[in-house]
Amino acid sequence: MFTSLKLRSKSPAAVAAGDSKTREGQGVSQALFKQWMAEHEKMLRHLICGFEAKPALQEELFQDIALNIWQAMPKFRQDAGVKTFVARIAHNILVTHVAKSVRTVKTEQGEQAYHQQAATDVTPYQALDQKQRQQRLSCAIRQLKLEQRQVITLALEGMSYQEMADILCLSVNLVGVRLQRAKTALNQLLKVQEG
């Protein structure tokens, strides 16, 4: 995981909550932050893509997530995985971002764009090249209900039910229910374009 040789001697909590005033402590915190970001940047970028389509806002969200990870580092407990910790912070930012947006305008515009695209593009999902499939997939995911978007983006990242439950503060069973519904809805959305 994140335990490189240099960092193994100190726990992240001790590193972050410890004597941050010392130059050494700051250096270790910074190294740890860079390590976490390097390891999980790909996951973060994908998660963001499932919630926001505009590249400028995606970048802004990435910066916000990075800032919140930096601020939350002292609270990290080693019993939780770094991936879970980072994904939870990202989800909090993304949920708040979605909730803050003027939903009526955004949803209408999003749906309109989606149906316009669906009307012109009738190629089956499997027949598209990978870039087109990726665009269609992320576009379809952004049409899902928020609770479905949350579980599907995490599941696509290869997270276990338990990890998803920890990140979203839900029971494992509820994660299962939501994921099944999300998969059905996603299937329908991808089929709309196939038809």
Binding site: F33, Q134, Q150, L179
Partner: protein, 198 residues
């Protein structure tokens, strides 16, 4: 896990799930420069702290200037009154600012529900701050114009331009706050609506 468990249910997407996951995980992205990211992150944290500390220091400075002025008795009365009014207003601003920042910093590692509550609470504090700023611009019109007028007795360089400057500043403060307030109101209404529906 029982057979009835939702975890064991089949979904129409299960057959193609592996291919879809692969598409998802192979999405291209532009890698961030981690040194720049770290620098920007640290700078943002630093500026947030600096602005808060600067506000606290400015408030303390006003109190100190007021006390020194009262003790030495060499300051004009309008000056002391203006300092007292601004000090009281500043204490209230700092209190609300601390409240807003504390709420914002609570947002990070709790569950999504808590993050949403924190965002609503932060939005409410921001609105409170905006309303206070607006009321301040109403209430400060009379004391600040009075201050300018009263200081004319002591300073020759106070002219009509001073009053244009004072009232212009209040107008800019009002308009800026109004725009900020409208934006926060939209966000808060959206957050509340979202929270009720989920």
């Amino acid at each position: 896990m029982t057979q009835q468990s939702p975890l064991n249910e089949q979904s129409p997407l299960d057959d193609s799930w592996l291919a879809i996951s692969q598409d998802w995980q192979e999405q291209p992205y532009e890698k961030a420069n981690l040194d720049t990211l770290l620098r920007k992150t640290r700078r943002r944290t630093w500026w947030a702290k600096v602005s808060l500390v600067a506000n606290i220091l400015a408030t303390a400075g006003m109190l100190l200037a007021l006390l020194v002025g009262l003790y030495r008795g060499d300051r004009e009365m309008p000056h002391l009154v203006a300092l007292a009014v601004l000090f009281v207003a500043s204490v209230v601003y700092v209190y609300i600012e601390v409240k807003i920042r504390r709420t914002a910093w609570q947002l990070n590692d709790a569950g999504p529900d808590h993050a949403l509550k924190a965002a609503i609470s932060g939005g409410e504090s921001s609105l409170q701050y905006a309303r206070l700023m607006k009321w301040s611009s109403y209430f400060l019109v009379i004391p600040l114009n009075w201050y300018g007028y009263a200081m004319m007795e002591y300073r020759e360089n106070i002219t009509w331009k001073t009053f244009v400057f004072i009232n212009g500043m209040l107008l800019v403060m009002y308009v800026g706050t109004h725009i900020y307030q409208k934006k926060r109101e939209r966000e808060l209404s959206s957050l509340r609506q979202f929270s009720e529906n989920n």
